[in-house]
């Protein structure tokens, strides 16, 4: 490993730590900056709505105060907050007292991660391929007609697309279930029936995320390809008489993809934001729905825990993208 590469990795790692630090601090500061006592507000609301009749308000209140350590000096509270985080102690839910927030997040995380990973990868791959094809001079009229369609799809928020998909494919045509992650009456087993059920439930939310993102990748790849195709090495490759397909893949796409990976890193934030809302609309049992239920019930620690989880996981993902980047771009390795 060269010194430049080491320095590159170290800077990126520093960025990861910085984002996590800023995120945790924001999570700590904002509730304390705003007027009012969140404990009182939340409990009052809980009692007023009768949403927690089986909950011992005293016990919740005590747990809350102990967790917050509201009487301690602010710096001590801040340090305790960090210590708790390192022990993965995110507090308890009071809508489902005394369930731990970390357990709830642990249950929701696999659903979100698998949905988002599959959908983003499919959107990235197909979008990039389509965009590269659009930029190639031999692209026919049929494929060029995609561009306006892509533009329209990209500009509409994809959680609204999700509502339309549910209406047509779940309500009108009844091809797919309208909500949930798996049939609630099903006993979860490792068999084909369960898998099929899970896949059926995942199909529409996945499709919503793919449709909402594919245009972004296609348009980005198209403009990258157009500028790559203007480079001298493409002309040189043509002069050498290489097969157009070889030029397309190895000289064109390979270089255009570099900028796409950077774009992937930058857009992950908005992809995650949108995916949270898609989960809410499909009532999909991931982090988004967990967050939504927590917001509805003023379940304070759950809200904070999920938000923290979103920020940290995104920061880690960005770091991973940065780690992959030198493999693609040899200029950084040297």
């Amino acid at each position: 490993m060269s010194r430049e590469l080491a320095r590159y990795l170290l800077t990126r790692f520093g960025q990861l730590l910085l984002i996590v630090f800023v995120a945790v601090s924001i999570n700590f500061i904002i509730p304390r900056l705003l007027p009012g006592d969140p404990v009182q507000t939340a409990l009052a609301r809980l009692q007023a709505t009768g949403g927690a009749q089986n909950v011992d308000i005293q016990a919740v209140s005590a747990a809350y105060r102990a967790k917050y350590g509201l009487d301690a000096p602010i710096l001590e509270q801040y340090l305790n907050y960090w210590l708790d985080l390192f022990r993965l102690d995110l507090g308890v839910s009071f809508a489902n007292f005394p369930e731990k927030v970390s357990t709830m997040i642990g249950n929701a995380l696999p659903w979100s991660v698998s949905l988002l990973a599959v959908a983003t990868l499919i959107a990235f791959a197909t979008g990039s391929l389509l965009g590269a094809r659009l930029a190639w001079p031999t692209a026919g009229r049929g494929i060029k007609a995609f561009v306006p369609l892509m533009m329209i799809l990209t500009s509409i928020p994809f959680y609204l697309l999700a509502i339309i998909l549910i209406y047509f494919f779940a309500v009108v045509l009844k091809w797919f279930p309208p909500a949930g992650g798996v049939d609630t009456t099903r006993i979860m087993r490792f068999d084909w029936a369960t898998t099929e059920d899970i896949l059926k439930h995942a199909f529409l939310p996945c499709l919503a995320i793919i449709l909402g993102n594919i245009g972004f990748w296609a348009l980005g790849m198209r403009s990258q390809m157009v500028s790559v195709l203007g480079e001298d090495y493409i002309t040189f490759a043509e002069a050498k008489g290489l097969h157009p397909r070889r030029i397309f893949v190895w000289y064109g796409m390979r270089n255009a993809l570099l900028a796409q990976v950077t774009a992937l890193a930058l857009s992950l934030g908005s992809v995650v934001s949108g995916a949270v809302l898609v989960e809410v609309i499909f009532n999909y049992p991931g982090l988004g729905s967990l967050l939504y239920v927590a917001i509805r019930g003023q379940d304070y620690f759950v809200i904070q825990g999920v938000v923290l989880m979103l920020i940290v996981s995104l920061a880690v993902l960005l770091f991973l993208v940065d780690l992959i980047y030198p493999l693609l771009d040899p200029r950084i390795r040297r």
């Binding site: 960025q15 549910i166 890193a265 509805r296 979103l310």
Partner: protein
């Protein structure tokens, strides 16, 4: 008619494109709709219980009614300007703050630049909804102005980046050098020499910021974190979700707000693509 001639020249040179005109046209139509709409409908019909609930579109109620007994057509006419207002306020603040920070960072450099750059880069990568949820969830009484402020708090980073990058290239230009030798002060150079040349970029990022702000506003509202007693497009989506309007087949409830939202975004998108060409003549030639 100097405006017409300069317009025609710009159009012939391909700087003003059909894309830009189409985008501005759509936006103009929506603004017109929300400006003159209220003159023709009675706001009372958008109150809960004003009309018979759950009526599909027909001669009596042009766009039907929701399950709370609100006339959808009236609701839409009053909701659209509120949503646009939030987007515009947030856009103005976001671009204002973003431009100021970008100018300062690019022009003065050094430690100020480093701080601004690190903060904006870190915030750019964080999922906006995460921070917005924490802020919005902690505010007890939400209204459209506070909502716009909350969203604006995360709407400045992109402008800061673009403006900073542009300042870095412009400050090396010879006319800035001449101004410096002539003894103009740092601030004079910044406001009279550098900033006017950035206007195309600032306008372009204003369109982008407004679009991003409306996206964030609707997202928060769809989660039930908006000013729920106000008529907005996002709240309409939220209430239709709350009443399972999709599953119960009340398409006229969630359909029209989605169409209006989509039109707003398409209009903004086309305008920003069009402005990009305006700001960057190289693109126009392609």
């Amino acid at each position: 008619m100097s405006f017409v001639t300069s317009f025609r020249r710009n159009y012939q040179q391909g700087r003003i494109s059909g894309v830009l005109l189409l985008g501005l046209g759509i936006l103009f139509a929506i603004v017109l709709f929300s400006a003159i709409g209220p003159m023709f409908v009675d706001a009372v019909n958008a109150q809960v219980g004003a009309v018979r609930p759950r009526k599909p579109p027909g001669p009596e109620y042009f766009l039907g009614t929701d399950s709370q007994g609100r006339d959808m057509w009236t609701l839409l006419i009053y909701a659209t300007p509120n949503t646009l207002k939030m987007g515009l306020i947030a856009g103005f603040i976001g671009v204002g703050v973003g431009t100021a920070l970008g100018l300062i960072a690019g022009h003065f450099g050094g430690i100020i630049d480093a701080i601004i750059r690190v903060i904006s880069d870190a915030l750019l990568t964080v999922p906006a909804i995460a921070i917005l949820v924490i802020i919005a969830g902690n505010i007890d009484r939400m209204n459209t102005v506070i909502m716009a402020l909350v969203v604006a708090s995360l709407g400045w980073m992109f402008t800061t980046r673009t403006v900073r990058a542009q300042v870095l290239t412009i400050r090396e230009k010879s006319y800035v050098e001449v101004a410096r030798v002539n003894g103009e002060s740092q601030w004079e150079i910044l406001f009279t020499e550098i900033m006017p040349n950035l206007m195309p970029y600032i306008v372009a990022s204003f369109v982008g910021t407004v679009s991003g702000s409306i996206l964030a506003v609707i997202g928060l509202e769809a989660l039930g974190l908006g000013a729920l007693d106000e008529m907005t497009l996002g709240n309409t989506i939220y209430w239709s979700q709350q009443s399972s309007a999709v599953l119960r087949g009340y398409w006229w409830w969630w359909g029209p707000p989605i169409v209006v939202i989509a039109l707003i975004f398409i209009g903004l998108f086309l305008t920003s693509v069009g402005f990009d060409r305006f700001a960057n003549p190289k693109l126009a030639r392609r």
